[in-house]
Amino acid sequence: MKLELEAFRGVSRSFSIKFDTKQNLTVLYGENGSGKTTISDAFEFVIDGTAGSLEEKSLDGKAKLGQLVNARRTKADLSVSLTVRNKSRSATLSGAKVQHAGELDYQLKVLSRKNITRLVEEKPAERFRRIQDFVSIPVLDREEAALNELVLSEKRNLEAQSKLITQARDILADLFSEHADKAKYGDHQGQWQKDILSDSAETIAENFRILQDLNQEITRLRDDFKPLAESYPAIKKARGAVDREVASLTKLIADSSGNLAKAFETLQQAQGFLKVSDADTCPVCDTEIGHDSLVQKVDQKLETLKAVTDQSQKTKSAQEALQNALTAQKTLQESFFAIISRLNTVHQAAVDSKQWTLPALVPSIVSIASADELSEEWFNELKAEAPQLKPLSETVEKEHAAIQIRKNLQTEIRQAIKRIKDATDDAKRIEFIIKRGESIKSVLHDERIRHANETLEAISGDFAKLYSTIHEGEKIESIKLYLHPTKKASAQFDGSLFGKEDASPVAYLSESHLDTLGLCLFLALEKREHPEKTILFLDDAIASVDEAHMERLYQLLLDEASHFHHVIISSHYQPLRFKFRWGILTQKKVEFLELGRWTLDRGLALQKGPNSEVKFLRHYLEQGEHASAIANTAGLILEHIFDFLTGIYQCRLPRNPGAEQRWTLDHYKGGLKGEKHLLSSLRCEHLNEEGNMIKSVDLEPLVEAVFTRLQVRNAIGCHFKDLAGYFDEIGEASALGNATLALVEALCDENDTLPDRRKDGCSWHNRGETVTRRLYPLLKPE
């Protein structure tokens, strides 16, 4: 597995790191600020497209992905690629988005110490949120919620139906109160409703129609009464007018002589002639006539004749008016007769129905046989009898109103009863849905909880086992994770701790215990979901674990790592570095990588072993020119060798290495010399390819030769240049360099590699199939 970074966070120059996935576990050591989290962020960026550890930081509103770009590089330069088993996936930034190319068959899970603490310490609901992917069955969650929603909705519906029933019952009670005959029914509302509804709709409709017809005819009779009443005097008046006009005409005619019409015509012609002629002689008989007097006489005659004509016209008009009045009366009489006939029929039908006791009609109405009989005398008889019709009219109106009310009552009662029935039927269905829905919900809920608790129980069993492996014999009887029985989505942590039941681990355990608890939980959870496809990255996740538990913890991690595709543990913990770097804890299936110090110019870098520097030292010594380079390179090699020796023999070194968090050569010297019998017992055997010993080299004189020259490194190689020029620099530096090479050649194999394996169980030997170096003793002599 290879991770390549370009312009990503602290990576100013291209940086790549290979993980040996043949080993189950990689320990990535680096001091604070060396770039461990950068590597974990790069994993998250390339696999998940997130900003890793920056995701949960505020960054004062700045875009998180943009902050992944190295301070000296541009966004376009940034790229991260990961190759696992010949498949690659890369990620770059395009604008504010991550562009991915390629797919891997693996998922990544990163666990930082912060997340461990949260997993244990946060509230049960939040804890559940973190673990719910492992324990929940989403389809059951969803359907339980849907069912719950339906049940709630149906409960509201049931409430509405109940209100409808109450309202309908109130309506019935009000109707009973308003319309029922209390003397007859008392409080028996049901009987009253039954009686009201006993009449069929057809009967009521028929009765209603009969009374409506009767009422209608009485109304029409009343309406047409006045016009007919007025027609009789109108006829009389018209007759009188005709008589008067005829008398006047008769008189006028009598007063006139001759043929009135002929005379009138002649006179009109004469009048026309006289208007156009002014002669005083008659054109017929030549008699002398006075023109003016003739004109005057003709005019008088014509005036007289016109009055006759006018009177004749008036007489004619009066006669026409009379005729019209007679015709109108005839129409009224026929209409009135039709009303009377209908009234007789409808009244008889009403009487025949025997539904009511109706007053009889008056004789003038009953006796009439045709419209011609509706004379003024008859009318006067009807007029006299009219008051007798009033009781009938009142009875009909009253019964009509009563039947209308009954009809409405029936409608209202039927509607109310129907509403009650419908609502009751609905309520029955709704109650069933609620009850059955809740039961089914309970089945889904029980199954969900059963599954979650079964899973949690398995997880609890697993993590409790893991935890007890680390904290064996610490009176932590049991720790379990379970779902709260009533609170939804609430993962509880309980346990029997130090003899106390139901104790909260958060309250009783130390910070480092909680860290290991969280780590164990995380491992137990992650093992549930395709661990063989999972790359785990524990980023400084166990910093708080003390040395006493560390060995067991790492043994546990190593055991658990076999479940996953690969596990990477990053740490800045020095004792850890010693134990893994030099194989004290274990060398089985573990790869140790060390990050060098990060600098702005160089960026991230892997710490190299002595073999990378030895060839330079040889080269500088052959040149014999650069005292500083020789001293400096020798110093680096010695740091590795002494680090190795103090590491494998667990020499005491200062608790606080100093401001740079690195031990100096003097610290290592103190550590090695501080072990009374160590230096004198150090011996390295050189073997040939057949495994036969060629020679045995005591290391003490070689180490002491180096120790006596350590100040040269300080004086020339690095820090204290004050002494420069006061002595033979190249001579002293070469002496240091040669002493260093002598130690290297005595201790390291042909590849200048330290003997950091101890597979044979009796010595430290070099790596590879052929053992050519054996360093003794295996353990520090006591």
Binding site: D133, S136, I137, P138, V139, L140, R142, E143, A146, L147, L150, R429, F432, I433, R436, G437, S439, I440, V443, L444, D446, E447, R450, H451
Partner: protein
């Protein structure tokens, strides 16, 4: 996560033992859950109600 195998069996068994759904309806429900399909609970329960009211299983069970 799909419906785990024991869950389908457990749900069917619980529905049957409590006589909550007709056998065919229960099978249909579990099938929906297994296939991640949304369940129309109103329809399922209304059918069950009608079936119990009518005294027969309309789904054919």
């Amino acid at each position: 996560m799909k419906l785990p195998e024991p869950s389908a069996k457990n749900i069917l068994s619980a529905l049957a033992s409590k006589s909550l759904l007709a056998e065919s309806a229960a099978k249909e429900l579990v099938e929906s859950l297994e296939n991640q399909k949304d369940v129309n609970w109103n329809l399922v329960l209304t059918k069950q109600f009608e079936s119990e009211q009518g005294g027969h299983d309309e789904t054919g069970a």
